[in-house]
Amino acid sequence: MHIKLVIVPFWVECKDNIQHNTTQRNTTLSYQIHTINQIPPSSHLFTTTMSSLLPDLTTRIHPEPPCILSPEPQQLDRFDSLPDSLLLLIFNNLADVKALGRCSSVSRRFHSLVPQVQNVVVRVDCVISDDDPSSSSNSSDKSRSISTLFRNLIGGIFKPIQALGQFLGPKRSSPPSTAATSPLSSPSTSSLSVGSVDGDDLEQGGGVTHHSPTQVLKNFNEIRFLKIELPSGELGLEDDVLLRWRADFGSTLDNCVMLGASSVVYPDKAASNLSNCDVIGGNDDNGSIPESFYTNGGLKLRVVWTISSLIAASARHYLLQPIIAEHKTLDSLVLTDADGQGVLCMNREQLEELRVKPLSASSASKRTLVPALNMRLWYAPHLELPDGTVLKGATLVATRPSDQSVQREVSDGLWVSSAFEEPFGTAAKMLVKRRTYCLEMNSF
């Protein structure tokens, strides 16, 4: 009896796949089965009857009847056992927007879950500069614009200000031959592009297709934490010079802190044991700026650094407007770059402020207007940090719009010193203790 039960379902299923008339075979089969029942079961008999029948059927039916085998453990889709909330947790840890885009094309379930991801990181591949029209009409302009980019990056401290105007101008739309690919955003918005930079590809489609972050982020509806990473800082500097800035924007500049040094000497491992704390107070007197600072161009240099940082920050702020307008669920937005040169942050209140009160653009360039500022400056000709890093000509500048209340300056000290990552956080803390110099700047 037991043998019969096992056999019958097998044969019944296969009957469907068999195209020839098998009734005869089935009666033969049933006859065969009956005989098995009457004879004392012996495995030998069983196998011979089975083997005599099998070759016939394998020629007619599909070699792998899917009904028979249950999926072996290693062929199960593991994600089926996870609820949607856990899958979203995995996607939130994944964060990278390109990886999420690929996940979206894997299956329907992934496709429906990816728009709900809350934590997204966009890594921008290149920043397009608005060169003269003649160079861009050429479909191989990609390699050219990259070289222009590099030319602008490598240069003295004064060049960057001009270069910024070029970098962050309106995006050049791609040549018409790439019309088949995804449409680009309107020229007045960002000039950032996501997508590989393939200068070698000179086929019919033109060099590269550019997709702006605005377009890429259209796929996501519930972003709360957005981080955009530019490939490099906008300010071209000589090797030794250190420049770091951090700006907070609402609808206009809330505050900006900049740390600069004319030279940095990082400690090597062997020297780090020799660091000692008493050098910090050491030769420096009362923290006041030496007279030479004003005459040898030191002050002018630092003012230029400050202005460049502010221009870079305001330009980045301008680019973010369409993204902010579209994504109402944003809690925090951070725009940083791979070099760690500048960080622009906006938190929830500031984002709301920008939506309610649109920014005022500076004339003739694609950046936000920077209001009149109060600046506080701290300077140390020679600063040695506890971990052995030595900064020469270290400067810390904190700027704030003049029309904001003076009261907030009290809590500033803490904010200023926590604006930078180590080791520069310590440097900022040490600089703040020195003598403060106040300056004012008009809006630009």
């Binding site: 199960l76 593991r78 885009g101 690929r102 979206s104 299956s107």
Partner: protein, 203 residues
């Protein structure tokens, strides 16, 4: 001599030589900080540890595990159960098999033993433990995710989800499907539309 001793003498004698505890507010206070207590306790491993409470956990296949309460309360689910008074005999965990439960307990033990990563050595040791911990086959990894979710152990959940995310990163959709045996349930038209939508992700 002995005949003259009565209880009164004895009492007086013993009272006189007791250390005086001044109760005035300005007296020096006698207290120990937490680290001092922990230090003191560590000198007496056998005697003191046995007095700390242990919790019995029962897996879905009936196996029991006895763990210290400090280890067990890494799981918020178990912590709430203890607080609600459901932990008298043993805590049944019907969603967790013994294989997975033993791994989870190993994880919790390690994280409880290592003090809050003040020194770099301890932090790196923990990191390498974590890295080795997730070098398991896929089915165990996913079971760990489900167990960490059920038991509400945030650090383990983050660790395992991050591991899966790292497995997904850098792969094309076909490779993702192959790695995890995901069925492609798009129709050809749908698939083409989705690829076009996400063309920027493929370059």
């Amino acid at each position: 001599m002995l005949k003259n001793l009565n209880s009164k003498h004895i009492q007086r004698f013993s009272y006189k030589y007791l250390p005086q505890f001044p109760i005035s507010p300005n007296s020096p206070k006698l207290g120990f900080s937490r680290s001092q207590i922990a230090n003191y306790r560590s000198n007496f491993p056998t005697t003191i540890m046995s007095s700390s409470k242990t919790i019995v956990l029962r897996s879905s296949d009936g196996e029991t595990f006895e763990v210290d309460e400090a280890v067990a309360v890494e799981s918020q689910t178990i912590k709430h159960m203890i607080e609600d008074g459901c932990a008298d005999t043993s805590i049944p965990l019907p969603n967790v098999t013994s294989k997975i439960l033993s791994k989870v307990i190993e994880y919790c033990k390690k994280h409880v033993e290592t003090p809050n990563a003040d020194e770099k050595v301890a932090e790196e040791d923990l990191k390498s433990f974590d890295a080795d911990f997730v070098k398991v086959d896929q089915s165990t990894l996913f079971d760990l995710i489900l167990a960490a979710n059920y038991l509400n152990i945030k650090s383990l959940l983050d660790l395992t989800c991050q591991t899966v995310a790292d497995m997904i990163k850098g792969k094309t959709p076909e490779e993702i499907r192959k790695t995890f045996n995901i069925k492609n349930d798009f129709t050809p038209e749908e698939e083409e539309e989705v690829r076009r939508e996400n063309a920027w992700a493929f370059e």
